[in-house]
Each structure stands twice: as structure tokens, then as C-alpha cells.
């Protein structure tokens, strides 16, 4: 997965336009998700809701935003991709903290651990690459894989909430989280491994997966 090729040569004009509109749609839906989540927090106003809303915004909206904007801005790819995934992992950490960490009792130790974990996740692959222990692609895949594992867990818990309480929002959330974490990871690996697709092809698959995930999450947060 290499994000920096998005705006550079290769691919027709049509493909470029498609990628552009995909990116725009993702950014708009991402902002929308952030807005709806923050409204949800204002409505309830307690700390668990704050962390849940912030987690959703970071793990899904800010993450996809960073994925699109960082490479387009021309920064180095392995670093930016790792940064984007780190944002997602920290966001997922916030969600888990809201659920397991009892933020209403203000247990800051867990929050501190989440932050430290984020820094660790961000720095480890960079240092590993720097010291040429692993090549950049492996490091990237590793961080992506970690996000996929945590995301898979969150999706499972959401799905169990749906099964137990027949809660439609939880089903939509589970599907959205799955697409945004496991889906984009597996999709990228599949295309990378089994086809001769270009980086643009990988980006398109990941882009469509993430856009679909965001739409599902937006849907889960809005009322009928």
C-alpha cells in the first residue's frame, strides 16, 4: 500500500476524477460523522459519551481524512500511512476506554496507557525501518494489521450488542467498523497479492471500502 501515487502520474483522467470524487465524498461523510457524534455527546454530556464520540471521530473520520490528505500533500508515504493508522488505533482505544475504562470514575491511568500505546505504535515501525530491521511495507502492514485486530474486536462487541438487544445501530456500527479496519486492510492485501493492480487500484478498493464503512457509521448515528 503506497498512498503517495494518488496524484502523480499513471492512470487516466477518468480514474483521476473518480479518485477525486471518492476522496471528496469520504471527507464530506467524515465531517458529517464527526458532527453527528459531537451532537450526540452534547445531548448526553457525560464523560463516557465524550470518549465514545471522540473515538468515533478519530478512528473513522479523522483517520480517513488523514489517509487522503497526508499523501496528497506530498509527504513521505510509510510515515504518513503509519500516522493515519495510529490515529485510528488511538480512536479505537478511546472507544474501548469509554466502554471498559469507566471514564466517569476518571481513571486516567487507562487513558494514559492508550496515549502511550499510540506513541509506541507510531514510533516502533519507524524505528524498525530506520534500523533496517524490516522493510517499510512490512512495517506498514504490521501497524495496519494491529488496527484490524483491535477494530475486529470492537466490531465483534458491537455485533454482540446487536444480537442481544436487537439494536439496529449496533449492527450498522459493527459492519462499518469491520469495513473501516479489517476490510480496508484485507482488501489492500488481497489486491496487492493476487492481482497485478496498480497502486491506484489498491487505493480505489480501500477508498470504496472506507467510504462504505463511513456511510454505515453515519447511518448508525442518525435516527429514522
Amino acid at each position: 500500500m503506497n498512498g503517495s501515487e494518488l496524484t502523480v502520474e499513471g492512470g487516466s483522467l477518468a480514474a483521476g476524477l473518480l479518485a477525486m470524487s471518492l476522496a471528496m465524498a469520504t471527507i464530506i461523510i467524515g465531517i458529517w460523522v464527526t458532527y453527528v457524534a459531537s451532537q450526540g455527546y452534547r445531548q448526553s454530556g457525560d464523560r463516557p459519551a465524550l470518549f465514545l464520540a471522540a473515538g468515533i471521530a478519530l478512528a473513522f473520520a479523522v483517520h480517513t481524512f488523514a489517509r487522503i490528505v497526508f499523501p496528497t500533500a506530498g509527504a513521505v508515504s510509510p510515515l504518513t500511512d503509519t500516522a493515519a493508522v495510529t490515529i485510528q488505533i488511538v480512536g479505537l482505544g478511546f472507544i474501548l476506554y469509554a466502554v471498559y475504562g469507566r471514564p466517569e470514575h476518571a481513571d486516567v491511568r487507562i487513558l494514559g496507557a492508550v496515549m502511550l500505546g499510540g506513541i509506541f505504535v507510531f514510533l516502533t515501525p519507524i524505528i524498525a525501518v530506520e534500523r533496517t530491521v524490516v522493510d517499510p511495507t512490512t512495517a506498514e502492514d504490521g501497524v495496519n494489521g494491529l488496527a484490524a485486530v483491535i477494530g475486529g474486536f470492537v466490531a465483534t462487541q458491537a455485533y454482540r450488542g446487536y444480537r442481544r438487544y436487537n439494536s439496529r445501530p449496533m449492527l450498522l456500527l459493527a459492519a462499518g467498523v469491520l469495513l473501516l479496519t479489517v476490510g480496508s486492510f484485507v482488501g489492500a492485501i488481497m489486491v496487492d497479492t493476487f492481482s497485478e493492480a496498480s497502486d491506484a487500484g489498491v487505493l480505489a478498493v480501500v477508498g470504496v471500502t472506507e467510504l462504505t464503512g463511513l456511510v454505515l457509521i453515519l447511518r448508525s448515528l442518525t435516527r429514522d
Binding site: 450526540g40 450488542g161 445501530p169 448508525s220 448515528l221
Partner: protein, 118 residues
């Protein structure tokens, strides 16, 4: 959300808590798990009275029961209160009831939190 997932509305809250026996069943079971017979004793109520209240509380997920095995081999049920905190908010012309229950597991908490964001 005027009604919580377990069917609690401002009306049911009032209805449940105005009843003297319901209040004492909740209070007694909040300190330790008790059987129906013990509740009859402690609440000075008849056993149908206790059973009716218990059923009502369980409908709203405010009381949980667990099976215990006696030394003599009999099963009996012990009840414990799940009510921890109840908030009623009046916003934009509607009452919003939310109940914090004890022993809420992660999935229940996740679902409640997430549905609260909507």
C-alpha cells in the same frame, strides 16, 4: 428517547416507586441477594404481593435473579437489585429516562452508550 430499552418511562418510574413494597424490595435486595421468602419476611408483605412486585421489577430489568442450590438439594432463586441511578431529564417537552444498572457488562454498556449518542 423517552423510553429506555427496558421500557422505562417517566410514568413507569413514578408507578414503580410510589409503591411501598416495590421500594422496600429494591432497598432490601440492594444490600444482599434475598429469596422471595426472605422478602416476604422483611417487607411485611404477602407472598403474592412480593411475587407481583418482583415480576414487575424484572420486566424493567431492575432486579436480577440467580439460581442457588440449597444444601438439601432444593433450588431457590435469589434476587438482587440492579438499580444504581435513575435520571429523568426534561428537554424540549419530553421526559428522558436513563437508568444506570449495576453489573452492566461491556456489551450492555457499549450498546447503551452508543444508542445514547443518537
Amino acid at each position: 428517547m423517552a423510553e429506555d430499552r427496558d421500557g422505562m418511562t417517566a410514568e413507569t418510574v413514578g408507578e414503580l416507586l410510589e409503591d411501598e413494597y416495590t421500594r422496600s424490595i429494591l432497598a432490601e435486595t440492594s444490600t444482599q441477594p434475598l429469596s422471595a421468602a426472605e422478602l416476604v419476611d422483611r417487607c411485611n408483605a404477602s407472598s403474592p404481593t412480593v411475587y407481583r412486585r418482583v415480576e414487575r421489577l424484572q420486566e424493567h430489568n431492575l432486579l436480577e435473579s440467580e439460581q442457588k442450590l440449597d444444601p438439601d438439594g432444593h433450588h431457590h432463586r435469589l434476587f438482587s437489585a440492579r438499580l444504581e441511578r435513575l435520571t429523568i431529564e426534561l428537554t424540549d417537552g419530553s421526559y428522558e429516562v436513563s437508568v444506570d444498572r449495576t453489573d452492566e457488562d461491556a456489551i450492555e454498556r457499549f450498546t447503551n452508550l452508543y444508542e445514547g449518542l443518537r
